[in-house]
Symmetry: C2
Subunit: 436 residues, 2 copies
């Protein structure tokens, strides 16, 4: 099958990295034993000559425990104090990992957000990193220390502690790598940011649904953002955005095995022929609405989207067709109450005095969106045709279609979602040993 | 009985304090419920118009739990990393208390050692506070916030976290009070440092041993240092030393009741007639050695103390008598192995060629040291005589006696210790309702 073999890695020309930023999530440092395991992995890597920054999350369920205590003293814990509280979790794991490394004779030092000058915005609980003062980090690395960094946290310019929200430790790691990669006169030739979790990499389709789904050796940042659901348990998408913006190479693999993981890169290596489709993903629980006979004139269509935004309805896939002065609109929403959507559209239609066109809105039907994503799509003709043929061949009814340069999305009945994924995965060779 | 009634407080002229530094120990903040209790106490105090700094320890057994984890990753945890680890405990309780206060509508902000600029020496695990930058604290207090401070911790000039050793949170509180008391242009007229624990104050004798032992309303810093064992569960003596040096008034009371506690002051209030004896304490497990016929010439006596210091033997009470060119020495040690003491003394005697005097050392006998302490002793004649008469009247054999301006100590057989304390306590009126 096309696209399958190209993703095999060429181990001889695998890049060597000067500076390695590793991130270990909560499950990787959940117990002192697991911290020992991380220490042994770091030690092995140091022995290859890499300079290392290791970003850690709080141990296991520590953060949940702290939140539970906060709820016992306050119904709505003050955000600044919540961050002061939560920031302790990462400091515990950073100190323990540094101890474990020192015990093995590996020079190491733990650093928190104060010490590293990780400056953030002031929106507590969900702060954004503004800058990182690299001077301390460079001093530590020059000193040949492994720098163990508390993930998930920063400080405001005024010295208050902040936390970065869900997936914050990934963001810490990627931001450090981005800053280091763009540092002037750096001590390293290249930078990689490795994100370790209990998942072994990014798969071309959900391995729990698609038997034999291929693990990818490489995926581009853009593909990863389009295939967010395939990376959900591995990478926080905010950190992928940061990696994309600063051109940081990510690597995702399991903490608990030596199995090969997945590189998330700006561009695929030149020696790797770009596959047509990299992955197939499905978004369930979408509700599809159809609005018929909207007058083309008077901005009524734009009015609908504004009314839905005011009603806090998130819209995903949109299709419109206009014919003889009347527009037909189809859109999907996620987790929105159908009556609220219908009410928002209706009141907008009244406002625009659309009564005379005999407009109407359907009740909303439950659908699934199946997407095939690939950077190579725009350079290859007939990809959409292949996708549609494959779906038709599997007797799947396509409700709506939307395409972009690297994405083909099709709405299907929720009951057909699994067979639609299966058809596309087979068509584009994303299953290991499938007919090769 | 003399000395009893004078310790009753004159509540009408009780001083009012502008700045209140409170310290709550681990048992006072052990659970979210107990933190609520502390918050309600702080709230009540704020309502009296006091400006407040509240220093907290880690919750309950948190520190022990962190140490146990450290031991699981390292046999000898690196001291710098140990402090990074342990400092999290106080940050958790400070954040929770600030939340609890804010929930009650009391303006509050938690501050850690970084934020307050509590600069210490670099001896991790047992650092000494060098200075505190009051500017942030004054800003917070001017803002009418209760400042909730992480006890037990500081930062080195280079920004590493340190901890202050056992009783460190007491030291943090007293140091903040001392710095505030001596601040130029302060916002407050007066400063008091209140130490809360699960003990209701300082007693004139161990209340577990002496039924009805009187709780003191006042005690001087010097008396407290001499009576360390009576304050052991209430106050760390290092913090009393700091308080004495900077003239900080301490107040010790229970977190869990409104019962009146004890003020530890530089000088007793003028209206309070100074009692002769403030408290009686006993040190058990002392071993008394006697060395006989040491030649007076040749510095052999000094040699013995040097030899014992080299052998790491702590010496407590010393008595010497010299007669016809020969010295007789008696000293006590605590927790030292008798054979080590005998060997150190013997080798010193050999070195000084003392063989011809027929010197000898006894085997060491278990004794107790009973001490009566009082600032008023040096202004009152016949105190020693009263003490010795009382002991003789109770048929207690006095083995050795040592006196200073404010302390009379007597060695007795360990079995007589309790009756010796009882005799002195009665003689100096330190038991409530005893013959009044």
């Amino acid at each position: 099958m096309a696209g399958a073999i190209e993703r095999e890695i060429n181990r001889d020309i695998e890049p060597k990295f000067g500076l390695v930023v590793q991130k270990y999530g909560g499950s990787s440092v959940a117990t002192p034993e697991k911290i020992q395991n991380v220490a042994s992995r770091v030690e092995a890597r140091v022995e290859t000559g890499a300079k290392m920054i290791v970003v850690v999350s709080a141990m296991g369920k520590t953060t949940d425990g702290l939140i539970a205590m906060a709820k016992q003293v306050s119904q709505n814990p003050f955000p600044r104090e919540m961050d002061m509280l939560l920031a302790t979790g990462e400091q515990v794991s950073a100190a323990l990992l540094a101890m474990a490394l020192l015990e093995r004779g590996v020079k190491a030092v733990s650093r928190n957000a104060f010490q590293l000058g990780i400056v953030t915005s002031e929106n507590y609980n969900n702060a954004r990193i503004r800058d990182i003062d690299l001077s301390r980090l460079i001093r530590d690395l020059t000193d040949n220390s492994v720098v163990v960094v508390t993930g998930f946290q920063g400080v405001t310019p005024d010295g208050d502690l902040t936390t970065l929200g869900r997936g914050g430790s990934d963001t810490s790691a990627v931001a450090l790598a981005a800053k280091a990669a763009n540092a002037p006169d750096a001590l390293w030739d290249s930078v990689v940011c490795e994100i370790y979790s209990d998942v072994s990499g990014i798969f071309a389709a959900d391995p729990n649904k698609v038997k034999g789904a291929r693990k990818l050796d490489y995926i581009t940042h853009i593909e990863m953002l389009e295939l967010a659901s395939l990376g959900a348990k591995v990478l926080h998408m905010r950190s992928v955005e940061v990696a994309r913006r600063y051109g940081v190479t990510l690597y995702c693999a399991s903490t608990f095995s030596e199995e090969r993981g997945t590189y998330v890169v700006k561009e695929l290596p030149e020696w790797l022929e770009s596959p047509v489709v990299t992955g197939v993903t499905v978004a369930r629980n979408q509700i599809k609405f159809v609005v018929r006979r909207i007058p083309e004139s008077g901005n009524a269509l734009a009015g609908i989207f504004q009314a839905l935004a005011v009603a806090d309805v998130n819209i995903d896939m949109i299709s419109t067709v206009t014919d003889e002065g009347l527009s037909y609109l189809s859109f999907t929403t996620i987790d929105a109450a159908a009556p609220a959507v219908i009410e928002a559209v209706s009141s907008c239609m009244r406002e625009f005095e659309c009564g005379k066109t005999g407009w109407e809105i359907g009740n909303g039907t439950q659908v699934a969106k199946v997407s095939a994503v690939g950077d190579g799509m725009n350079a290859t003709k007939g990809v959409a045709g292949r996708a549609f043929s494959a779906l038709r061949g599997a007797n799947i009814k396509m409700l709506d279609i939307s395409t972009s340069d690297i994405n083909i999305s099709v709405l299907v009945d929720e009951s057909s979602a699994d067979s639609a994924v299966e058809a596309l995965v087979k068509e584009f060779g994303l299953v290991a040993n499938a007919g090769e």
